[in-house]
Amino acid sequence: MIKTSRKKWAEPPYSWLEVNRGKCNQCGLCVEMCPMDVLRMGPGKLPYMRYRDDCWYCDVCVSVCPRKAVTLKGLPYLIR
């Protein structure tokens, strides 16, 4: 029930999505394709889970990434 903080941060808040900084070219396809509108481009120009708790763990973000930069590390804590 705790929502992701939307205040400014230095590092992305806790989530189960990992974006490889070396591979990601900031194309934003994952942000566009996420069916639950979870992702946004962060201040570091990398996608992050702005609306983390709306994630359906469907892995569309992973499957649409042309550079295989996105990884689901795990599942939402409450269903692990």
Binding site: M33, M36, D53, D54, W56, C58, D59, L72, L75, I79
Partner: protein, 613 residues
Amino acid sequence: MLHVKKADIVIIGGGAAGTMAAIHAHRANPALKVAILDKSRIETSGGAGRGMDAINTIPLPPYSDPEDFVEMQTKITEGVLDQEVSYAYAERCPELVQELEEITGRAKGDLFPVDERGNYQLRYVQAVNKPMMLYMDGGNLKRSLAKAVRGSGAEVYDRTPVLKIFTEDGRIQGVLGFNIRSGDYFFIQAKAVCLTAGPAGRMGLASSGYLSNTYEFPGNSGDGYALAYEAGAELVNMECYQALTMLKDFQGPACGYVAGTRGAKSTNRAGEGIWTHAYPSGDTRLATWRTFAEGKGPIYLHTHELPEEVIRIIEHIQFGTERTGRYLFHKGRKQDYRQPKCLELAFAEEIGACGGHSSSGVNSNRQGETNIPGLFVAGDVDAGLPFSFLGGALAMGGLIGEEAAQYAAGTGWAGGNPRSRAREGIRGFEAPLKRKLGLPAHLVEFKARTRLQYYLKPPKNPEYHRIAVWWMERIRREDLPEIKAEDYHDLLKAHEIRSILLVGEMMARASLFREESRWGYQHWRVDFPEKKREWDGTWVVVRKGEKGMELGKKKVPPSRWNFPSSMEYSYPNLSFDLGVPFQRAPHYQNPLGDPWTKGRMIKMRGAGKREGG
């Protein structure tokens, strides 16, 4: 900012049914302008957004005929069925399979399996002796459908949920959409509207407490039901709940189709079988309930005895086409499909409403028409073709696209000022955004969905259903006006709660209205624990009246085929003999009243006065 647009046909929802409606509407009449709105993005939205591995109910010659499908549907709906709709779907199935191969650009035998004679290879699942399930390698089905829609020239409004359907003089006038990325409003005047906005899948909350822990795509919060209701459409079978057996905590499919049709078995903890077929009919649901009620749970799906090759196939589908999250789920629990008791199943963890997995939704006829001229319906929000899964959404989506094209070509634009109607729809919508402080939307949703799950879960207790109605009304009255939304994304969440509350109320009221039991577990009233003849072939209709929600009875159209209209099961007697309880002797009873506490109350009141004075 408000944009006023025009389209001959507006499609609400870009899932399997909506994309097919757009493709067929264009094909039927390329001169017509088609607009499609989706709260998500049509490439990945809806139940089939990630991928699909089978069409569960599809009769295909030479192994099964349209009549076999009607027979099966008559049985599982227990006679509450318009057989003509079932037949209309079944007739379109051979054409559907070929069309999907064309749209995806896949050769025969690649998208769907074929046997040595070149016929599509079907599997047995349903409680009839004909095969009607077709495997599919459909990981990219939605991407292909979306490409065809965009290629047709349809105007696509992604991230634009529809807030309201407008009618003028009883016919369709247009829709109002809101883009959650830009904050723009779109009023789109239309001659016809195809409503394909999915099931009410985000209803009763699973025991994990995670709001997006849903079997259905969580964007499917019952908006289609709410839009239809507010526009004056009739909904039926809202009392025939969706109550599924699912992989515990993951809320994913129980593998009845993926693994069950490949040799896996489900048993209770003692190793005893539970159901005789895997179709979601009343008998299987009741047998599942009994397993837990008798303390014989959990139910396990056993895959460990299958050959390694079959286990790998199941893993390939479950970890790929379904959701990769499933792999992580098992990995985190150190579970392996080669070990016994790997898959623990749970039952009825999230009560909901769906036309595809059950039979609840907007009533429609064989043309997909509703009681509102110009409003067509297909997919999980449609009750005309119940228990029809992906096949029903695809085929009937196509059908309503064609019907809407024919209707739109022969009708003019409805009157009324679009801007003033749009303002009417927008009024109050942004209020949660303007509040300085308030309740977070997710808290209100949590409260509504936990109450729904607790009070609606069958066996249906009428008193609990009355309390559920009370809760829906209370949350609507007291909590909705207090929600504070942080941004447009959040604003949609606040709006979706309205749909959840409305559908919950429909489910509770329809259940109270139907004073009998039917469809096994799905409508089991403890106070009327048997089927009644007077309810045979009868829908409970829910509609919006002048003074609120109205309920009524309606007979289904006469049947063309006299197939058996029942499943073989009976409701249990819920009376348990617990022996002789302790009886206290009369002279050991406590006296009435409590002078000691009363004395203390007076003292405390006095102390309060002194402090305050």
